[in-house]
């Protein structure tokens, strides 16, 4: 998902140094099992803390980088109505990033360090934002599919065992629903329009469908962090379970639009009521993660430039604050 549970940088090595007693760990697990929320100053296993920092930071970075593909169409939205909506959505994503950075900070990592890790390439963000937005229909497809997939993942995160993360997710989920609906509305408009518009919508679906399915992360058999995250109630459903829910919810929506899913193996299994779908190209997923997606370099270049170009503003604000404080003290 936005977090994709994919960080490879082995933090497991630190484990040996963790002086945690079996009683502490058992008492912690008991609290989690009782659905008690863990709050910042409570005792927690250091691996729980590390897992959350990695996941929340990755989630925050995804929200921030995720502004770029949509920001690409802000100046070219077809009407003022669409432009206002898109602007509000992109602004929301910035807000989501900020809620999440704050939540991660409660675990003892600084904002500065998180940003530095993103800029250096050490921290990951969701693979989905490394695909280009080639047409206006892509803005529809992103809202409908990418925000739709995000909602699937984020709703169970509202019940995450870590209080600040869960609370941030409640706020995010309230805002996401508009994101998905405005995207679907764009698709609806295009599908009710000319042949060329409908074709544009189909083309966007063709390109975004598979990357959207990859957002849920590797299959359960490959997903190394999953079992522990489930036990800690950071995660409530496995990657494959969420992916299936998303497919089941989305296929009928595509049918309503009169669009064809780009998957010849997609078929409703009458017995289970679930859709069977084709094999995901995991090689593509790992390539994008490794930095070789269509837009990885551009996304990082733009993010670094924003950091550099804003430096003087931050310095000026800081100098002003210091001057004001000195004046007050005098």
């Amino acid at each position: 998902m936005y977090t994709q549970s994919l960080d490879q940088q082995g933090s497991k090595t630190e484990h040996a140094a963790d002086a945690e007693t079996a009683e502490q760990l058992a008492a912690f697990q008991k609290r989690v099992d009782a659905e008690e929320k863990i709050e910042p100053k409570d005792w927690m296993p250091s691996a729980y803390r590390r897992t959350l920092i990695r996941q929340i930071a990755q989630h925050a970075h995804s929200e921030i980088i995720g502004m770029q593909p949509e920001g690409n169409w802000l100046t070219r939205a077809p009407t003022l109505r669409r432009k206002s909506i898109l602007l509000a959505k992109v602004q929301d994503e910035a807000g989501h990033g900020l809620y999440l950075y704050s939540a991660a900070e409660t675990l003892g990592i600084s904002r500065q360090q998180m940003v530095a890790e993103l800029l250096s390439g050490k921290a990951k963000y969701s693979s989905i934002f490394n695909y280009p937005t080639l047409s206006w229909a892509d803005i529809g497809a992103i809202g409908w599919l990418v925000d739709g997939a995000a909602i699937m993942n984020q709703i169970p995160l509202c019940r995450c065992s870590y209080g600040p993360y869960a609370r941030a997710m409640v706020r995010v989920c309230k805002e996401e629903s508009f994101h998905q609906r405005q995207g679907y509305e764009i698709m609806l408009d295009l599908c009710r329009g000319s042949d060329a518009q409908k074709e544009m919508a189909q083309d966007a679906l063709n390109r975004w469908w598979w990357p959207s399915l990859m957002m849920f992360g590797p299959g359960d058999a490959e997903s190394t962090h999953s079992a522990q995250s489930m036990a800690w109630k950071i995660k409530r459903f496995s990657n494959d379970e969420l992916r299936q829910k998303f497919v089941d919810a989305t296929v009928p929506q595509a049918e309503f639009l009169g669009l064809r899913m780009p998957d010849d193996d997609l078929k409703l299994d009458e017995a289970s009521g679930h859709y069977n779908f084709g094999e995901i190209n995991w090689q593509e997923f790992y390539d994008v993660l490794a930095g070789n997606g269509p837009c990885n370099k551009q996304r990082m270049r733009v993010r670094r430039a924003a950091q550099d170009n804003g430096a003087w503003v931050r310095e000026a604000a800081e100098a002003y604050a210091q001057k004001q404080a000195a004046r007050e003290a005098a």
């Binding site: 100053k41 807000g95 704050s102 904002r111 500065q112 609370r167 604000a317 800081e318 002003y320």
Partner: protein, 94 residues
């Protein structure tokens, strides 16, 4: 950024008549910027009619380690609750 700007906790009054409630936090160089950031980050949908911001470092918090000492003593004082008292039904609502 030379330093992380100070962290501020944000409290929002959703509408008059309600108390301010913790909404989240923002970084800002000074108090005025903290208010502006809080407005942009936490009230994009009419979530509030009033904002308080306070530097996180100014908050004095109890330690979870002490929570037993602080809060357990209240637990066995059930006579502080109205349900502790049995009033005959004939008396009516009280």
């Amino acid at each position: 950024m030379t330093t992380d700007w100070p962290l501020y906790e944000v409290f929002i009054r959703a509408k008059s008549g309600l108390s301010h409630r913790h909404a989240g936090s923002v970084h800002a160089a000074d108090d005025e910027m903290a208010l502006n950031h809080a407005r942009d980050v936490y009230t994009r949908r009419n979530e509030g009619v009033s904002i308080w911001v306070v530097r996180s470092s100014e908050i004095v918090a109890s330690d979870p380690q002490d929570s037993a000492a602080l809060f357990e003593p209240a637990k066995d004082k059930i006579y502080r609750h109205p349900t502790f008292y049995e009033i005959p039904e004939d008396v009516g609502n009280m």
